[in-house]
């Protein structure tokens, strides 16, 4: 619960005092490692496509890589490539990339799904967008694009001018095997994509047995608006930054922008002045408060089914936060405030008035949080409704690559702000909130407590900014007009977004635009846990579990 991480370094392969010993890891895998190369922050081992499971099992069980953070697929002129970005929940600075090249004429690679459950959806996405097949995958079909789509749009030879045909019915006939048929005792139910409880355009295919959920499968892709393609068409310096605001659009803009800023700054070796880091930290935490307020408000909307009390309270407080952020950035929702190497501009004048506004908000916050606890967490009806429903245990959470409040509420003590520090977080005094229960109640409680921690961080940032010497207020370092990272440099970096680990993989090709830009969305991985939470529970608990996962479809579908 504190910033000091307990040292539980067991005798896993490759772990030394100085960090990760890649030679020991290569020894562990023996001649299954075809070649090794250097990525930013980590090494990449190239392996054969038919030894994926062998290698990943060894790395997971003997070297302790229990977090498959991301799976990136891409097409080169002469080959396809799948990259598994492995990390450890205990220490995410220990990273390893496993590169699996496959040939152009037979793009088949062994599936990693038996090793990491989270690879299920990631590999389906890789198949959908790039066109790599995964052998041994339980359900190899499209995930983001419609079933009837032709071609793989992130491939090199895709022609987006070609017409496409999309069906209205999705995958299944709602009346097939219905309870009206003799013999069948289950009912198929479509929830969404237009439904008030799905938080956007999510489609959940559900099979009910009475009022219990027998099977549930999220069907996504109703908001797949080609974020990766957009980023690959933009130049590093200015054209990419507006898009992250639109991934997780629940006012979490600056958290997302920071993910891109952190990745691109480390790729192009840019410094960020301390003053800008403090402003970034403060505004990012304001965004986190706004995002968590919406999560709590819509959760109450879903479990209480009313459009009034808690929802309105949450929006009242979000308005205050949005006003502060508008003063700072000029926008209510899509801030576009961070720049590579710093922030766009200094705090608004008069500074005292701005600080006072934030202080007023922070002073009022404890009282407001008490109100939320009165309305929600200390309400017996709410407790009966949410405690012990939708339980996610720590091991399952890790298997699915869950991060953020979802993982922390299941007892996975993982927060990138602390474990892989960036910004001004290491200098500040705050705690990582965790809970053990892993149920719907714990997830909501975690978010409310994280709001308190965010307020603590903001308070310290305001203190720092108030006393910052006037002649040292450098908001941006010196950044070249056109940024051209080295040819074939590869990097994967992540920050702690509102929903969890928000990572970005960039491969550069020597031009001023990325050759491959892959977004690791926390909500995408978190949503995968929905069947684990909901199967066997009642339908209303399915809705509560979905709300407690706090997904944003813009980020799930990208």
């Amino acid at each position: 619960m504190s910033l000091e991480r307990p040292t539980d370094r067991t005798d896993t392969v490759g772990v030394t005092e100085e960090g990760l010993d890649y030679d020991a890891l290569a020894d562990l895998l023996g001649d299954r490692v075809v070649s090794r190369e250097q990525h930013h922050h980590t090494e990449a081992f190239t392996i054969r496509p038919d030894e994926v499971q062998d290698v990943l099992f060894a790395l997971r069980d003997q070297a302790g890589f229990d977090h498959c953070s991301n799976v990136t697929a891409q097409e080169y002129e002469n080959r396809f490539e799948t990259i598994y970005h492995l990390k450890k929940y205990a220490d995410p600075t220990q990273e390893l990339s496993v590169v699996v090249p496959t040939s152009k004429d037979n793009p088949v690679s062994e599936s990693a799904e038996p090793v990491y459950r989270t690879a299920d959806w990631h590999e389906r996405e890789a198949y959908d967008l790039v066109g790599i097949q995964y052998e041994g995958h339980p359900d190899m079909r499209r995930i983001l694009l419609p079933e009837t789509w032709k071609g793989h749009p992130m491939g090199l030879d895709y022609n987006q001018e070609k017409p496409q045909i999309v069906t209205l019915e999705a995958h299944a006939n709602p009346l097939e095997d219905d309870e009206h048929d003799a013999g069948a005792d289950t009912m198929y139910l479509n929830i969404g994509p237009h439904h008030p409880a799905t938080h956007g355009v999510l489609h959940i295919e559900t099979v009910l047995d009475g009022e219990q959920v027998a099977h549930v499968e999220p069907d996504i892709g109703y908001l797949h608006r080609c974020e990766e393609q957009m980023a690959q068409q933009g130049t590093y310096r200015h054209e990419i930054m507006p898009y992250p605001d639109r991934w997780d659009y629940v006012s979490a803009g600056i958290l997302n922008e920071w993910a891109y800023a952190r990745t691109a700054e480390e790729l192009t070796d840019l410094d960020v002045p301390d003053y800008a880091q403090v402003i970034r930290t403060m505004s990012a935490e304001l965004c986190r408060i706004a995002a968590h307020m919406l999560a709590v408000g819509t959760f109450a909307l879903d479990v209480y089914g009313e459009f009034t009390a808690t929802f309105m309270y949450a929006f009242r407080d979000r308005e205050v936060v949005e006003n502060i952020l508008e003063d700072l950035t000029g926008q209510r929702l899509m801030f576009n405030y961070l720049r590579l190497g710093g922030v766009a501009w200094d705090l608004p004048e008069p500074r005292e008035a701005f600080f006072e506004k934030i202080r007023d908000f922070l002073d009022g916050l404890p009282h407001k949080l008490d109100e939320y606890h009165d309305l929600l967490t200390s309400n017996e009806i709410f407790q009966l409704r949410c405690a012990n429903t939708g339980v996610l245990d720590a091991e399952t959470a890790k298997q699915y690559g869950a991060t953020g409040p979802v993982a922390r509420a299941s007892g996975v003590d993982y927060d990138i702000r602390r474990d892989d520090p960036y910004g001004y977080y290491p200098e500040l005094d705050w705690d990582v909130v965790t809970a053990e229960e892993g149920d719907n109640y714990a997830r909501v409680l975690c978010r409310l407590q994280e709001v308190e921690e965010s307020a603590r961080i903001i308070d310290q940032c305001v203190d720092l900014l108030e006393d910052w010497p006037e002649d040292d207020r450098e908001i941006q370092s010196n950044v070249p007009r056109t940024l051209r990272p080295d040819d074939d440099a590869e990097i994967y970096r992540a920050v702690e977004g509102a929903k969890g680990e928000l990572g970005i993989y960039i491969r550069s090709d020597g031009t001023d635009k990325p050759a491959r830009f892959k977004i690791r969305s926390p909500a995408f991985s978190n949503l995968q846990t929905l069947p684990e939470l909901a199967v066997g529970e009642y339908v209303p608990d399915l809705i509560a579990s979905l709300a407690s996962l706090d997904i944003v479809l813009g980020e799930v579908d990208r």
């Binding site: 749009p153 987006q160 045909i165 999309v166 994509p193 938080h199 109703y222 659009y249 949005e322």
Partner: protein
């Protein structure tokens, strides 16, 4: 028994006079009554009356797509409170709604569903398209999967530009819609390139032949000719 308390037979009133007292009861002094004067009747065309009613009591569809829906929720919620303008109360079912705000990017997989939701709304129905994405595809216009605006699929009455529009802008758009409705203006007839149609009705070409084994002839489909989009 004092005779003072007895009603005087000489001043006998009708029941109505007794109830009305000296003049109009001041509990009923609404602006409307003042405007009507002493006559409780108004004379108007039924169509004008219906338009006025429609514009003054709009039921919105609770319909969220992307980023704009967050600002739309703010418009419904405290501070902006769209209900003040006779157009709050989002309805969850399209059968109960007469205005749909389209708040966000429409992608290929969602457009047929949106068309279906629109079709399920009872006539007369109105569409407010919110944000740049519903005008042209907005920042995502070049995406391989993005429909270039809501008007490709359903007719639109009011466009509210912005990315996302502020709640004030949306309120202005809704107020403009009310104004148009009360003046009896209806949605402009627009050419909608993308329609839901049965797969069997599509003209045969390379793509249709390729999909013939996968898609049933009776299945409703939407065919996107990306090249024809603006």
């Amino acid at each position: 028994m004092s005779s003072d308390n007895q009603p005087q037979t000489a001043d006998a009133q009708t029941t109505q006079e007794a109830r009305m007292g000296g003049g109009t009861d001041n509990r009923f002094n609404s602006k409307l009554r003042n405007a009507f004067g002493s006559s409780p009747f108004i004379l108007t065309k039924f169509d004008s009356f219906m338009n006025w009613v429609r514009g003054s009591s709009m039921f919105m569809l609770q319909f969220g797509i992307a980023c704009c829906s967050i600002e739309m929720m703010h418009t419904y919620a405290v501070k902006h409170d769209l209900d003040r303008f006779g157009s709050g109360v989002p309805r969850a079912s399209p059968r109960q709604a007469d205005v749909i705000i389209v708040p966000g990017t429409i992608v290929s997989k969602f457009a047929p569903r949106m068309k279906r939701v629109y079709d399920q709304m009872p006539e007369p129905k109105f569409v407010v398209s919110m944000g740049s994405c519903t005008i042209s595809g907005g920042p995502f216009q070049k995406g391989y999967n993005v429909v270039k605006g809501a008007e490709e699929v359903i007719p639109v009455d009011i466009h509210v530009p912005g990315c996302p529009p502020r709640p004030e802008a949306l309120i202005y758009g809704v107020a403009k819609l009310q104004e148009r409705i009360s003046e009896g203006e209806s949605a402009p007839v627009t050419v909608k390139p993308y329609e839901l149609q049965q797969f069997g009705d599509l003209e045969s070409d390379e793509l249709v032949d390729e999909l013939a084994d996968e898609i049933d002839r009776d299945t409703l489909v939407m065919r996107y000719n990306w090249n024809d989009s603006p």
